[in-house]
Amino acid sequence: MAALLEIKDVITAYGRIEALRGVSLQVEQGSITCLLGPNGAGKTTLMMTTAGILRPRSGSIRFMGSEIAGAAPHGIVERGIALVPENRLVFPRMTVLENLRAGAYQRNDRDGITSDIERLFARFPRLRERAGQEGGTLSGGEQQMLSVARALMSRPKLLLMDEPSLGLAPLVVEEIFGIIRELHRDGTTIFLVEQNAHMALRVAHHFYLIEQGRVTFSGDPGSLAEDEVIHRAYLGSAKA
């Protein structure tokens, strides 16, 4: 399989503090790849760097063969990457429908947008019920669905998801992971950051463990090291 996203030696810093200290990893075309790690390991920083919100100090990020490190966020969306951000970040004072239209901002195909909204409403019936309601009035689970749906409106080739289960009830988490499986079945490549390692390893084809700004382990779920990885994803390595 070919690598859709190839991250090499990426260093991202906030002022003098390096949050990523040389991260390298690959996301294969058509896979669900998962990034695990304890709080503060740099997972969100990697997502924000890939989406262009943060600028890497050095290193390379290649998407479908072309360099995107340091490109502006709207340019990265244009190339086919969409991020479902941590804490969902729906537009609280815009209606559900407007949130979706904002997700399709770069598209000009009116009919395509309308039919995509229709398709997403079929997949997320709760969003259809709340189409005219402001994003801020939705429940946490509904906001997560809206955030995913908004990202899908740009028709991404690669969907980045940052902690989609954060703060959600177990039943809603199940629902979100069901959606992740469905999206993958429909052909979307997914790069997922999760604290919930158990859930993540159930859907992932491949995973990376990141600790203190470095990838410290990578492998396939089901391998012998799984318990160790889960332990370290929650608690950090014993040495730390």
Partner: protein, 306 residues
């Protein structure tokens, strides 16, 4: 009965002043609400536009519409200069420590203060007299409504405020650009992630706000038939006060704030004397900022929650 008549006449005059303030506040609020930056040079750029029109009117024979367009064009040019120097460096420098947005906004505000001084000095150098006459908006007598007087200029100002607000509302809620603007106001990072080019939205908002300011400046100069370099400071202060009264960042609030400011000023002047006009207006804004009633903080809360 006399007091009642005074009240009605003052209210008419107050609404006129308020319409001008509302226009100024709408432009100010656009910049503050979208960029979350205070542009102290807002009024100075307006003054620059109006001076440009005044200068032209003294050298060439031009009509009112041309004067209005020149004021708007001048204000937009002035605004673009301010945007380039004070604001664009901050949202284009993508150095991650930009998370520290407050230092950036202070730098932008201080820089905009410097440009305000620059505009004022330039105006004084180019046109050294303190006061220049400006062609009148309307030369006839005021309208007589029963025992009340209504200046025709007032109708123009009120109409302009209504038309500008209605068009702005249509742009914000009916167009693709409006969707992008509201997204940027709501959650800037999410807007970027949705593929919206945020700095291009900023530039266009700056131009739009300056154009509205230029129109306001033209109407104000043409109804008072004179200009001084003080128009810059005056516009910034009135726009900012009205914006604060309206709850910092809400467009309908800016309109209401402008009208309230105008009414309070005119009534205060009538009942307590001209020295009290500004004093009472400032006291009102001060009291509101201290008390921060719920309707006022609602907007800022939504802000910080995002």
């Amino acid at each position: 009965m006399d007091v009642l008549a005074d009240l009605v006449q003052n209210t008419l005059d107050g609404l006129t002043a308020g319409a001008a303030y509302a226009l100024l506040a709408v432009g100010f609020t656009l910049i503050f609400g979208v960029l979350r930056r205070v542009n102290l040079s807002y009024g100075a750029a307006i003054m620059f536009g109006v001076y440009f029109a005044t200068w032209t009117s003294q050298h060439f024979q031009i009509g009112l519409i041309a004067l209005a367009l020149l004021s708007i064009a001048g204000a937009v040019a002035g605004g673009a200069y301010v945007e380039r120097l004070c604001f664009s460096p901050h949202y284009r420098a993508r150095d991650n420590s930009r998370a520290d947005a407050s230092s950036g906004s202070i730098a932008a505000m201080v820089a905009s203060f410097a440009l305000w001084m620059q505009f004022e000095e330039a105006a004084i150098l180019a046109m050294p007299r303190h006061l220049y006459s400006f062609p009148p908006l309307y030369e006839g007598a005021p309208l007589q409504l029963g025992s009340f007087l209504l200046r025709v200029e007032s109708i123009y100002l009120l109409l302009a405020a209504i038309v500008v607000c209605a068009s702005l509302h249509a742009v914000l809620y009916r167009t693709r650009f409006g969707l992008a603007v509201r997204a940027v106001i709501d959650v800037p990072v999410a807007a970027q992630l949705a593929g919206i080019n945020v700095s291009s939205v900023f530039v266009r908002i700056f131009a739009l706000a300056s154009a509205i300011g230029g129109l306001a400046g033209f109407l104000i100069a043409a109804s008072s038939e004179q200009v001084t370099p003080m128009l810059g400071m005056w516009s910034t202060v009135k726009g900012m006060l009205a914006m604060m009264l309206g709850g910092l960042g809400s467009l309908p609030g800016a309109v209401v704030g402008g009208l309230v400011l105008g009414l309070v000023e005119v009534h205060s002047q009538w009942f307590f004397g001209p020295q009290m006009r500004d004093l009472i207006a400032y006291l009102l804004v001060f009291a509101l900022l201290v008390a921060r009633p719920a309707w006022m903080t609602r907007w800022t809360n939504i802000r910080s929650a995002s």
